[in-house]
């Protein structure tokens, strides 16, 4: 039980990873699974949370911030990521700036039976767009976020981190 608790992805880990990588802005739509993370981000005086109205806004908003020399990260859910497809194409992939997307993997079953079509199409979507991605399921996977930032900086491309712990990690 103790080991299980230790494994749970903590919102603090995400915030620490953001700080380590110099993130200045989080472009996001809050959802029920990220509520505590959202509150935690608002408490950080070095971090500006930029709420948007629909996920399609996130790549463009992040691009503007990146052009301005800031370090944005996009925090959305996989459903919204798919909605944002053309924005990801035009404002992220084609733009030539490093950009990390933290994407809640709704419906992730750790390779079990998938009952949620949001999960069914998430990885095929990323593959179709030619986007590299990493999976974070537990707290010990947290440093994969830094790996994503390093890769984004090295390639000047978007890199995605899928958060496969939606039912535990972002809530107390």
């Amino acid at each position: 039980m103790v080991e299980q608790q230790a494994a749970i992805l903590k919102p603090e880990t995400l915030v620490e990873e953001f700080k380590k990588n110099g993130v200045t802005h989080v472009v996001t739509i809050p959802d029920s699974e990220t509520n505590y993370l959202y509150e935690l981000m608002l408490e950080q005086d070095w971090l500006d949370v930029v709420p948007i109205s629909r996920e399609g806004e996130s790549p463009g908003t992040a691009l503007g911030l990146a052009i301005a020399g800031k370090v944005p990260v996009v925090l959305i859910q996989n459903t919204g990521m798919m909605e944002a497809g053309d924005s990801i194409r035009g404002m992220a992939i084609d733009a030539g700036f490093p950009m990390v997307f933290i994407v809640g993997y709704r419906g992730w079953t750790r390779r079990g039976v998938i009952r949620d079509s949001a999960a069914k199409y998430t990885e095929p979507f990323l593959t179709a767009f030619g986007l590299d991605y990493y999976l974070v399921e537990t707290n010990t996977d947290g440093d994969r976020i830094s790996t994503a930032f390093e890769q984004a900086r090295a390639t000047s491309r978007p890199v995605v981190v899928l958060i496969g712990d939606e039912y535990h990690g972002f809530n107390r």
Partner: protein, 195 residues
């Protein structure tokens, strides 16, 4: 009705050192009026997302004035961005909307409810700090100086004449004089941004 060229001609002397980005068919005409191309930036296009990019730029550069020449077809594809902008209240952001009531780039088909939408009223209701609407060039010319001095986010809708493109897309020369990466690189150099 007003021509986009006339809007730009009247605006340019009041630009100061503002960073300009533009979208839509009318937006492609802005470079011909600009006297400071190093501060003109192309953000690319993706179904109305130039507006979001201009918003992000304004947030990232709070000490610079950022001006967007938007189009109504683009804004309708990304209308929620008005709430996102109003929420953050960027004081340095001036949002012009050149409303020609049609999709000029696809042959001039009307945008939904094209003659009835009060965009400035919408921006006011959603929380922009200041909003204006013009369908008279002289009135616009009279007020532009004070508008540019206002604290943002400022929204200015202007009814313009549609300049419709009817030739097949494959036959159009859509190559910009300065491609997006060049405009971004030159703007960042101008502002001394290396990150």
């Amino acid at each position: 009705m007003i021509k986009a060229d006339d809007v730009y001609r009247i605006f340019e002397p009041h630009r100061g050192k503002a960073i300009i980005t533009a979208s839509g068919v009318a937006g492609r005409k802005w470079p011909q009026s600009s006297n400071n191309p190093e501060r003109d930036v192309s953000m690319g296009s993706a179904m109305g997302q130039t507006t979001s990019a201009a918003f992000g730029l304004a947030l990232g550069l709070p000490d610079e004035k950022v001006v967007l020449f938007d189009s109504e077809g683009a804004l309708l594809m990304n209308l929620g961005v008005l709430a996102s902008i109003a929420n953050k209240q960027p004081k340095n952001f001036v949002h012009f909307l050149l409303d020609n009531e049609v999709y000029a780039t696809t042959g001039g088909q009307p945008v939904p409810n094209n003659t009835n939408i009060d965009y400035a009223g919408m921006a006011k209701a959603i929380g922009y700090a200041s909003t204006h609407h013009f369908d008279d060039l002289e009135e616009f010319a009279t007020q532009i100086e004070s508008i540019m001095a206002e604290e943002g986010p400022v929204f200015v809708s202007i009814k313009i004449v549609p300049e419709i493109e009817n030739s097949p897309v494959g036959l159009r020369d859509l190559t910009p004089a300065r491609p997006r990466p060049q405009t971004i690189e030159e703007l960042r150099a101008e502002l001394g941004i290396t990150a």
